[in-house]
């Protein structure tokens, strides 16, 4: 462990390397780039929730002047349904059917064909000229409808308990003996909950610009959470080898998990290949809402049993999560994370992946964990009430600590969950007076965090400055934190360090920006690369001074003799050593590629105050404090930013956001006016408390921080509303009509 103390740059609120570009409008996002000869791609989408595609006639579209190419599922590589082909957590069997409907259209908005034409208007007109013969099939949208015995089965080849089923998977984690555990319980609370699907809500719609040369050399410019994911998925789905594809990451205008898979890139690649022209595709907001993301809606039941002294003896959860039309809901997060803040001897947590005729879900910030935590943390609040205990005291009594074995497997190392509870309890917010119709709620949350593959290259320029290249799209300030770390290690001003995101041809493989892994993993490869450079610099100084490299130390950006015994020499600065590089062994640079390990889970505890308007049913969050064990805040501004952003998304999920379906099985609110994300006037200032319990397995103590802050929010809000009204809510969102229903039910 090499936790640096007395830091100059780590922990400083430095200016981000990409900042000036972003405040002046220069930064190039996916839709901001054009190419000579470029044409436009558009997608024809299914109007039906479920329909067999009997035939597609593209002849009229192809005959329209200006149309340069049309593609359908025949052009996409087919991955037969009987053999799984995994790429990370995605199965290409489902991806090939998601980017373009094959034999069946599975949700309204499912692509059935794509066109490239000289203008967007011609491409749109050509889509209208494509004749699709649909056999409309019965469909289901909601979990209960999809699970009835006579429900239309989306995929005959998916079987559960031996029969074709809309249950695509089951996941269980278990610890101890659940039946025995509940026998010991003196107080048991069991409740059922529902949540609605919510969209990640990134402001930048999906977009790409792709050129394919006659020899298949392909250049992809797109915004995603992983240029290597884009390269690999596009290769799989088009048949072009990965070595022929160069995926260049544009600046990404928000992702939150929703840009961890491809939608447009394979289609635009095929259109570009067929037409011989670069093809640009940009989704409309309506397409984003109908056909990308969201995260699952859910149905869950949670039962927790405790002794009268508050010690929890057993906990059981059953979580049904919507997958959308193809398998892959985040049951792992719901099942694995929900009970992890607590040291419980007997746990049984089971999740089901449920298909229905909705767009396939995509990852959303701590996928699955907020859904599970919502149910568990609401039950914890009721348990505290039943036990007449303070809700933070109940959590403290049962808190996971170093040595606790989590139900999902690992034994926790030194973790900071207890510290988050103590900090919340001590915070002035927790004892602040409340007014009429106001209430306070608390909740905790856990997310696994992730390590995995990362690459970095650190080069010293001829003038003695530094260029760092990594392979992860920077979604919220990671470049700023990397600059802090590299400057700290080299002992130079952070402004001398440029941090860039490489494309697939210029940096080694790096896994997705996701799982709260980027800074954890990048810091490791950047640290090792920088350490190698420092070794080289010491060796070169030693050679110049004709002493042993061990007798040279690196400090404040220069080589110094390690001790008086080493001899007396004037320090050699980075700039001086860089200038001597040609004579002293050549360029100075180092790259490291690792499969990083040791990403420890993160915990947070939130306090929320609300005020309820009983006339209108409007709930306003009037005060919010998020406390989190952040490991080590390399750049506190962006750590706070992650916490505040997660809280805002959670408040939206709790109070307003939901997909509303009409009778035809279509989303009725596919835009920002009716899909109501929090706006500035909806929120108060969002206080943050960063508890720093360094990750013992990381050179700077870094833990992932991006996802934990969404996990506790919905329960914190629900518990606050209960405190204000004396009424429990068991479904999200707690929007004005539902709040009024509950208030009026009381009268």
């Amino acid at each position: 462990m090499n936790i640096i103390t007395n830091n100059k740059w780590i922990g400083q609120r430095t200016i981000r390397p990409d900042g000036a570009d972003k405040v002046t409008g220069r930064a190039a996002f996916a839709a901001d780039t054009n190419m000579p000869g470029m044409i436009w791609g558009k997608i024809l989408r299914s109007p039906h929730p479920h329909a067999r595609i009997r035939s597609i006639d593209t002849s009229k579209a192809e005959a329209l002047p200006g149309v340069k190419a049309v593609v359908t599922s025949r052009d996409i590589v087919d991955f037969p349904v009987d053999k799984s082909v995994m790429l990370g957590i995605q199965d290409m069997r489902w991806m090939c059917r998601n980017v373009m409907a094959r034999d069946k259209a599975l949700f309204p908005g499912h692509p059935v064909a794509a066109v490239a034409a000289t203008t967007e208007a011609i491409a749109a007109r050509a889509c209208e000229l494509i004749e699709v013969d649909y056999e409309v099939l019965p469909w289901s949208i909601e979990i209960d409808d999809a699970l009835t015995p006579d429900a239309p089965v989306l995929h005959e080849f998916i079987k559960f308990e031996g029969k074709p089923s809309n249950i695509a998977g089951r996941l269980e984690v278990k610890k101890g003996d659940i039946a025995e555990g509940f026998k010991q319980a003196e107080v048991v609370i069991e409740r059922s909950f529902t949540t609605r699907p919510v969209h990640q809500g990134y402001i930048e719609p999906h977009a790409c610009l792709i050129s394919v040369a006659p020899d298949n050399k392909t250049t992809i410019w797109s915004s995603s959470q992983g240029q290597f994911m884009v390269r690999a998925m596009t290769a799989y789905l088009t048949g072009i080898p990965q070595s022929d594809i160069r995926a260049i990451p544009a600046e990404i205008g928000g992702g939150f998990g929703g840009k961890t898979i491809v939608y447009l890139e394979p289609l635009a690649t095929l259109l570009a290949k067929k037409s011989g022209r670069p093809v640009k595709m940009v989704m409309t907001r309506e397409e984003v809402m109908r056909a990308t993301g969201p995260t699952s809606g859910s149905k869950s039941t949670v039962k927790i049993g405790a002794k009268k002294d508050g010690s929890i003896v057993a906990a059981q959860g059953t979580f049904y999560l919507q997958a959308g039309a193809l398998p892959g809901s985040p049951i792992r997060g719901a099942v694995g994370c929900s009970f992890s803040p607590y040291d419980i001897p007997n746990v049984l947590s089971v999740g089901f992946d449920v298909l229905s005729n909705r767009s396939k879900v995509a990852a959303y910030r701590a996928p699955g964990a907020p859904i599970g935590a919502y149910a568990v943390e609401c039950v914890m609040d009721e348990l505290a009430e039943a036990l007449k205990m303070d809700p933070l005291e109940l959590r403290l009594k049962n808190a996971a600590r170093q040595g606790t074995k989590a139900a999902f497997g690992p034994v926790f190392p030194r973790i900071g969950y207890v510290e988050t509870l103590q900090a919340a309890r001590a915070h002035p917010h927790y004892s602040a007076p409340l007014g009429k119709l106001q209430g306070r709620g608390v909740a905790s949350g856990f997310w696994f965090n992730a390590g995995g593959e990362s690459s970095a290259q650190v080069n010293i320029t001829e003038d003695g400055n530094v260029v760092v290249t990594t392979g992860h799209p920077d979604i919220g300030g990671s470049r700023a934190a990397i600059a802090n770390i590299c400057a700290e290690l080299l002992g130079i001003d952070y402004r001398r360090v440029s941090v860039l995101i490489g494309d697939t041809a210029t940096i080694g493989f790096s896994n997705l920006t996701g799982g709260s892994r980027v800074l954890f993993a990048s810091a490791m490869v950047v640290t090792q690369s920088t350490d190698k450079i420092i070794t080289t610099l010491r060796e070169r100084a030693a050679k110049i001074w004709e002493i042993d490299p061990e007798a040279v130390k690196w400090e404040n950006g220069a080589a110094h003799p390690a001790s008086p015994n080493a001899g007396k020499f004037e320090p050699l600065t980075l700039a001086e050593l860089a200038a001597k590089a040609p004579q002293m062994g050549g360029p100075i640079g180092a790259g490291v590629q690792l499969n990083t390990e040791g990403a420890e889970g993160g915990f947070g505890t939130h306090i929320c105050d609300v005020e309820v308007d009983p006339e209108l049913g409007i709930v306003r969050v009037i005060r919010y404090t998020a406390v989190q064990d952040v490991g080590r805040a390399i750049h506190p501004g962006y750590v706070e930013g992650q916490m505040q952003g997660g809280v805002a998304q959670g408040i939206g999920w709790a109070l307003n956001e939901e997909y509303i379906y009409n009778r035809d099985g279509k989303v009725d609110n596919p835009g920002f006016l009716d899909y109501r994300m929090p706006v500035c006037s909806d929120l108060p200032m969002l206080d943050t408390v960063m508890v720093e319990v360094p990750n013992p397995k990381h050179p700077q103590g870094v833990k992932g921080v991006g996802e934990v802050p969404l996990v506790p929010v919905m329960a914190a809000v629900a518990n606050a509303i209960h405190n204000a009204l004396g009424k429990r809510f068991y479904s999200l969102p707690m929007s004005p009509p539902r709040v009024l229903e509950v208030i009026e039910a009381k009268a």
Binding site: V23, T24, E204, I252, G641, G671, V679, C680
Partner: protein, 165 residues
């Protein structure tokens, strides 16, 4: 149909462009004018990422026809900094980490500047309601509101307003 010719002023410079009758001002900015700092997040006036000013009035350029620019004075994010000097709001956004992904930032800055031109001493509530038409999904708005309030205070103290008009 032949394209329409529009003469206008953008960021203080005379500008001309050709457009279709149905093109929005945002189409014209991002297309023929090559000013891609204004972003398209929704094309329905709900997200504010395309915010510009039209004769000092804050508008969503996705809701304005390009031909309406004729003879008007348009300001976009590209005109906010003076040469190599960032506008105090731009500088403060950087110092306070008031942006994460940056896609809303152009619109936020244009809208915030429009607010401070109208109201050099806004309250927190005034800032929040003025910016309610600019969606940000990353920050929770906290640091954005603080940046606007602090900039307003700095500009009042330093009397920098005039030099930026």
């Amino acid at each position: 149909m032949a394209k329409l010719h529009v003469s206008t002023t953008i960021n203080g410079e005379p500008a001309e462009f050709l457009c279709e009758p149905g093109d929005t001002m945002l189409d014209a900015l991002r297309g023929p004018l090559g000013l891609t700092g204004s972003k398209e997040g929704c094309s329905s006036g709900d997200c504010g990422a395309c915010s510009i000013t039209l004769d000092d009035r804050l508008v969503c350029s996705c809701l304005m026809l390009a031909v309406e620019a004729e003879g008007q004075d348009i300001r976009t994010i590209e005109g906010m900094a003076h040469g190599e000097h960032l506008h105090p709001l731009q500088q403060k956004f950087l110092e306070l980490a008031a942006l994460q992904c940056g896609i809303c930032t152009s619109g936020m800055l244009v809208a915030s500047d429009a607010l401070l031109r109208k109201n050099p001493k806004p309250s927190e509530e005034e800032v929040r309601f003025w910016l309610a038409g600019n969606l940000c999904r990353c920050t929770g708005y906290d640091k954005i509101v603080r940046a606007v309030l602090e900039t307003a205070s700095d500009m009042r103290e330093q009397g920098t307003r005039e030099s930026w008009q």
